[in-house]
């Protein structure tokens, strides 16, 4: 077995450091580190501790959440095309955020936006459980998720449609592209507990997801409690992805591409894919966030735009290779 996890952990550590050290302020390496750890130098401390550190932490956590929940969702549905947004949590959280922006709450109170997004994610879970039942099968879950996503997307469009204020509409559109810029430690303290709890729940699913390789009947006969697995998956995804969307906006493609990319490296075992995808997702999001700062420092390139722009062709390449293997 190749040492996949240590290699990924090193990559994440390097990218986290790079994320701390790269930015428009153009600080020296020594100054930055001194400011971060010892608090020497006023302006530099402010930049390091209040701007770059929260940004790097949120990139790390949100990326890990998206990669992990994508791997868990693909394992549960036994489908490599599944992604965390499938059960409607992302679009519901986005609707909550959009409502906060539209009503002006977000401008009045900085935390209104993430709180409103978290509320949206929480309500979506209640709706999903109501629609798909606490003990239903995978198909009911997918269909309920699709219906909920369609409904929340339509409501988001309605808000934009009826928005009397073009600036609010523009703000909403920009927010929906996803970004880690200008986040504070308050965002970290708000989102981190949900993300940590959600990820802890999802990481317990390894044995059950492995057994599901053999199908639902075989997994149950191996002692897996499927209704409980499904509930853990829904709650874990909702808490972690809801919190990720609340602080980073809608960042697509990470949850879809990362598990797909890492699967061959872990022998396709769903239980090994979970931690690997968490690390891989963190690496991808940190790298993408650094890229937004390097590629167009003056343009405020949005994170979600970049992940989709790089992710989609990359995904096409994977499909191209898969097609040749399967032919």
């Amino acid at each position: 077995m190749k040492p996949v996890l240590p290699a990924l952990a090193l990559l994440v550590a390097a990218l986290f450091a790079a994320s701390l050290l790269i930015g428009p302020a153009g600080l020296g390496l020594g100054d930055s580190l001194r400011a971060l750890f010892r608090g020497d130098g006023d302006a530099v401390v402010l930049v390091m501790r209040e701007i770059r550190l929260p940004r790097a932490i949120l990139g790390l956590l949100a990326g890990a959440v998206l990669g992990l929940s994508g791997a868990a969702m693909q394992g549960y549905l036994r489908n490599p095309l599944a992604e965390p947004g499938l059960i409607g949590v992302s679009s519901s959280a986005a609707l909550g955020a959009v409502l906060a922006l539209q009503t002006g709450l977000a401008a009045a109170l900085p935390l209104a936006l993430p709180l409103s997004a978290l509320t949206g994610a929480g309500l979506s879970v209640l709706l999903i459980l109501l629609l798909a039942g606490p003990r239903g099968g995978a198909l009911a879950l997918i269909l309920a998720g699709i219906a909920l996503s369609a409904l929340t997307s339509a409501l988001t469009s309605l808000v934009l449609n009826l928005s009397p204020n073009p600036f609010a509409a523009m703000e909403i559109v920009y927010w929906m592209m996803g970004s880690l810029a200008d986040r504070s430690m308050t965002h970290v303290w708000l989102a981190a507990p949900f993300m940590a709890a959600g990820m802890a729940a999802l990481l317990t699913l390894g044995r059950g997801l492995d057994a599901l390789t053999l199908g639902e009947d075989a997994a149950q006969s191996l002692g897996v409690n499927l209704p409980r697995l499904r509930l853990t998956l829904i709650l874990g995804t909702a808490a972690s992805v809801g919190a990720a969307v609340a602080v980073a906006g809608a960042v697509g493609f990470v949850g879809l591409v990362v598990p797909h990319l890492l699967r061959p490296l872990v022998g396709a075992r769903p239980s090994r894919l979970l931690p690997a995808s968490a690390l891989g997702g963190a690496a991808m999001l940190l790298a993408a966030d650094i890229a937004t700062r390097l590629v167009a420092p003056d343009q405020d390139l949005k994170l979600g735009v970049l992940t989709a722009l790089v992710g989609a062709p990359f995904f096409l390449h994977l499909i191209w290779r898969m097609r040749r293997v399967e032919a």
């Binding site: 036994r78 390789t213 053999l214 199908g215 009947d217 075989a218 006969s221 191996l222 002692g223």
Partner: protein, 247 residues
């Protein structure tokens, strides 16, 4: 020792009972062939016995908590599903997960691979194998669980003759070692030759239960399957061959 007891098990799909008031006990040392035409309720009986389908009546296995049940009985479903391209040894090792960790180095994994003649496939990707080979790997997974009872739903369907006979012999060996096996099967010849006891189902009801010669009578064959058959006792064991239709 009783490995499974069913009392008045009834499973309904809508208003129609697919398993109708079935009572039976299965003891150690038995290799039981579960027979019946398509739709007779064989799969529903196996799933109901494990508690995978809700029903009325009592099943000793369904009454157990999930992990205890997984240590008491292994189940080979009819649908042969392998979702991810994992290696054969990793797939077979999933049978060990109720006992702790699904470790491919577990000696039970090697024992199961040896029994099914799959040792040379050990490191191959399970999804790259042919359908029949995948079926054998999945049987090995159920064997690796090393439970007192094995419930297998059409284990030999689609296997080549060598693999069919090997599988039936493995199951007979397990019974000889004091374990119990229930396998649903459509090949009456294989069932008559290898099973120690046959259970015949028809329209959800248990219509015959006993040694092969007592179950595969001209009357039951005509009534349940609509066929007639040829019996013989040879030096090499009993032979049964379906010969023609009677209706």
């Amino acid at each position: 020792m009783t490995l499974l007891s069913l009392e008045n098990l009834t499973i309904r799909r809508g208003a129609c009972p697919v398993v109708d008031d079935v009572s039976l006990t299965i003891g150690a040392g038995e290799f039981i062939g579960l027979l019946g035409p398509n739709g007779a309720g064989k799969t529903s009986l196996l799933r109901g016995a494990l508690g995978l389908l809700p029903g009325t009546g009592h099943s000793s296995l369904a009454a157990l908590p999930p992990l205890a049940r997984a240590k008491a009985a292994a189940f080979l479903p009819q649908g042969r599903e392998i979702a991810w391209p994992v290696s054969v040894e990793v797939l077979v090792a999933l049978g060990r997960s109720p006992h702790g960790t699904a470790d491919p180095a577990d000696p039970a994994v090697t024992r199961a691979l040896v029994r099914m003649g799959l040792t040379s496939f050990r490191d191959r990707s399970a999804t790259a194998l042919s359908g029949g080979e995948q079926a054998r790997v999945l049987i090995a997974r159920a064997l690796a669980q090393e439970t007192p009872l094995l419930l297998a739903d059409e284990p030999v369907a689609g296997l080549d003759p060598e693999a069919q006979i090997r599988t039936m012999q493995v199951f007979a060996d397990l019974a000889a070692e004091g374990r119990g096996v229930v396998a649903s099967i459509h090949d009456l010849g294989l069932a008559a030759r290898h099973c120690s006891r046959l259970i015949l189902m028809h329209r959800g009801r248990l219509v015959a239960d006993g040694p092969p010669r007592a179950v595969l009578t001209d009357e039951t064959l005509a009534e349940v399957f609509g066929i007639r058959g040829f019996h013989a006792e040879t030096e090499d064991g009993p032979v049964f061959q379906p010969m023609g239709l009677v209706r």
